[in-house]
Subunit: 441 residues, 2 copies
């Protein structure tokens, strides 16, 4: 979620060739809370597959958007939306089959312990609901998150999203632990370190009269900097929260739906079983649908005492869009594609690393890739400014990525799952040129 | 939001002719937090205009759904969704015109003081954002709501929604005031009473070290029981919160978009000017789009310090759906229709009241109508059970409404805005028969 060079109206630099009138109009209408990507923002009018097009018909390679996971404007999703929106679009207080068919199919991607799924419209709402359920089940209020986590924009989830910036004050019941960073932790066992930090956070809560409710983790640590390996590094932390009576909540909003290759969910790479799983962004390929899957025993208390109704969540059109996305993930074998193209991309990045010492580390799972840029491989000094130059330089080559991490020095590479070997090669060539131009070696 | 006779699987009563297998399947998949309307839930497979259809092709008159405000599956909305979903569906960190055109058009429905609009996916998210903005602007944390308010399902907004039930514990920083109930307040000036109660709530906050942040009011008091008159009754309360340094937040999620007849927003009936306005349900005719409009000076602090990004909020398809709804509200003159048909409906209800003393009070603005049922007009004892029988009796006549208020004794009548005089007559006939059957006179 880290923003590179949000457009600054005061400086107004780098806007030759962009759309200054549109930017001004946007600020006038939407106000000061919105940010744009890139020093030279991109104006898009059309999307297809891995491509976005500007008003001049110029194509941009989308290497960042995991919402359009099956490709921009996939005709099967559009057809499903159109058909269902023409037929019926209503809520879950009447019976309709679409939401049940979708729920059943979605639960098929979990092991039997996860028995229920509830629907919301956004990942923020899904995480917010998970927090409420965890509190109702445990009777606790304390949550543990990672240092630079992002979990949403509601009051409760923003309060557990330190990546929103220093002005985002976390709640008194929230404790942060460092993400499992095998690059900067040197040779230490990052899983053991994480478990130890979770235990310390639990002890600190207890010392302050706070009962633990849960450990909330994005299982690929996207905002923290994309931490993928060694597989299994989460198991000690999950044991620690369970021993305290708290729940393990897997935030799969970014890592879910085949993104990490082969399997459906990020947590599956670590051979752990969550109590609650939240899902969002890619779930409807852009249609606002999200959800939370749960172990039934954990929902019981919340369901009886508090009930839940989300007006649009699980409506017939949302369910149809979600179903179409699953059709495509299966039909186009997108998990295999994420694995195969992800491996190719990684291999290409490793070749670039032989020529560009600025590449300090490459971390990936399927088509979720983080490339950490450093000024010096020995000191690992974050190459923040250089990373911004790379992201903006790629944009000038019409290749769209972003950056992550507290120092915004990690290239975040996360294309639609239909990304091909040719697309990957095109990206690698553009990155090669950009790194050469940025001139840090 | 009050539920009448949510299906109770333990009793299993009244299910002859309904879909018991589907209900069981639903409970197995979605879990215990979901509720259905009616003792005999309705299974729908198709919607068109004011009609919903079951699998046997039987038509149900929808006199309740304000989400499908321009009618179920309106072809203009479907066409707009299809066109935009085929072309581009992306977020607000790239420039796209659709969201700006929609923002501009939407702001045209406010006076010049309201200068910005931000987009979310649900009314819950819009209210949650408004709370965050109010806190950032005022530096306060205290909010005032009404006794049986509903404002959303996020942690923060559910904590300001006592209508979710006694298990929903409100925050320490939340104060409740009685809604302006001119029926039960007898001849008192409900506006003055409300203002007085707001002042007392502010004093109580201050006595407890809480700085006021805002007064959050659904301007038609839907869950409290639909309170519409006398027009102007909110102005003293708005003055009171402003004097305290807090903001007035108008929750237009239910009352907005022409529902109340003639004008676009419920607050306009009371000649007041909010600081923040939240919108939702009818905004996209079922597509998940919602938003918050604001005075620019109030957004400044939040925008600079905290920024806001909602992945799906204001995406190109949401904006296109919202625009299509505005096209239809204008093109089909739906505000006029709400006024004219609302007046006809009210007049018919008044005729029924001459014959059925159970009708204690009729309150309405446009096509938002509350009919309070009482066991005795003198004592005004709430006719809770009878109201449930009326709602379920209408359902057996394939006419869909619900009930509101802390005693669930107020018929909540809120059809799509395309409801016609003929539809109203059909409803009135069914209500007449049902009241006769219920047999309280």
């Amino acid at each position: 979620m880290t923003m590179i060079n949000a457009y600054d109206p005061a400086s107004g630099t780098n806007l030759a060739g962009s759309e200054p009138d549109m930017i001004m109009r946007r600020q006038n209408l939407l106000g000061p809370a919105y940010r744009l990507f890139y020093a030279n923002p991109v104006h898009v009018v059309r999307g297809e597959g891995v491509w976005l097009y500007d008003p001049d018909g110029k194509a941009y390679l989308d290497v960042y958007n995991n919402v359009a996971c099956v490709g921009h404007c996939h005709p099967h999703v559009v057809a499903a939306l159109t058909k269902q929106a023409s037929l019926l679009n209503t809520h879950t207080r009447y019976l309709h089959e679409t939401v049940l068919d979708y729920a059943e199919r979605l639960l098929g991607y979990f092991s039997a312990e996860i028995g229920h799924v509830m629907f919301t419209c956004t990942g923020s709402e899904a995480n917010d609901l998970a927090l409420r359920v965890a509190k109702a089940h445990t009777g606790g209020t304390g949550f543990i998150i990672t240092d630079f986590a992002y979990h949403g924009v509601t009051e409760a989830t923003a309060g557990m999203s330190p990546s929103l910036g220093p002005a985002m004050v976390l709640g008194e019941h929230v404790r942060k632990v460092p993400a499992p960073d095998a690059y900067r932790e040197g040779g230490r066992d990052v899983g053991a370190v994480l478990a130890d930090n979770v235990r310390k956070a639990i002890d600190d809560m207890r010392a302050n009269g706070i009962k633990p409710a849960g450990l909330l983790v994005d299982t690929i640590f996207s905002s923290d900097g994309v931490f993928t390996d060694p597989q299994g590094f989460l198991s000690g932390a999950v044991d620690a929260i369970h021993e305290s009576g708290g729940l393990f909540i897997a935030d799969e909003v970014q890592s879910g739906f085949g993104r990490t290759g082969e399997r459906m969910w990020g947590f599956q790479r670590h051979e752990i079983m969550p109590d609650l799983v939240t899902m969002g962004k890619p779930m409807g390929n852009g249609h606002p649908v999200a959800g939370m899957a749960a172990r039934p025993e954990i929902l019981a208390e919340f369901g009886q005492r508090l009930r839940y109704f989300n007006t649009f969540g699980g409506n017939a059109v949302s369910a149809a869009a979600g179903m179409a996305v699953l059709d495509i993930i299966e039909g186009e074998k997108l998990r295999d594609n994420a694995r195969v193209v992800g491996a190719h991309l990684r291999s290409g990045l490793e070749s670039l690393a032989l020529r560009y010492p600025i590449i300090g580390d490459i971390r990936s799972a399927g088509l979720f890739v983080g490339v950490e840029l450093v000024r010096c491989r020995a000191s690992k000094e974050p190459a923040r400014d250089e990373t911004a130059r790379v992201v903006n330089g790629l944009r000038e080559r019409r290749v769209l990525i972003s950056a992550a991490g507290p120092s915004a020095n990690i290239l975040k590479i996360r294309p639609p799952l239909v990304f091909s070997i040719d697309n990957a090669d095109l990206f690698l060539t553009a990155l090669d040129e950009t790194l050469a131009e940025v001139g840090v070696s």
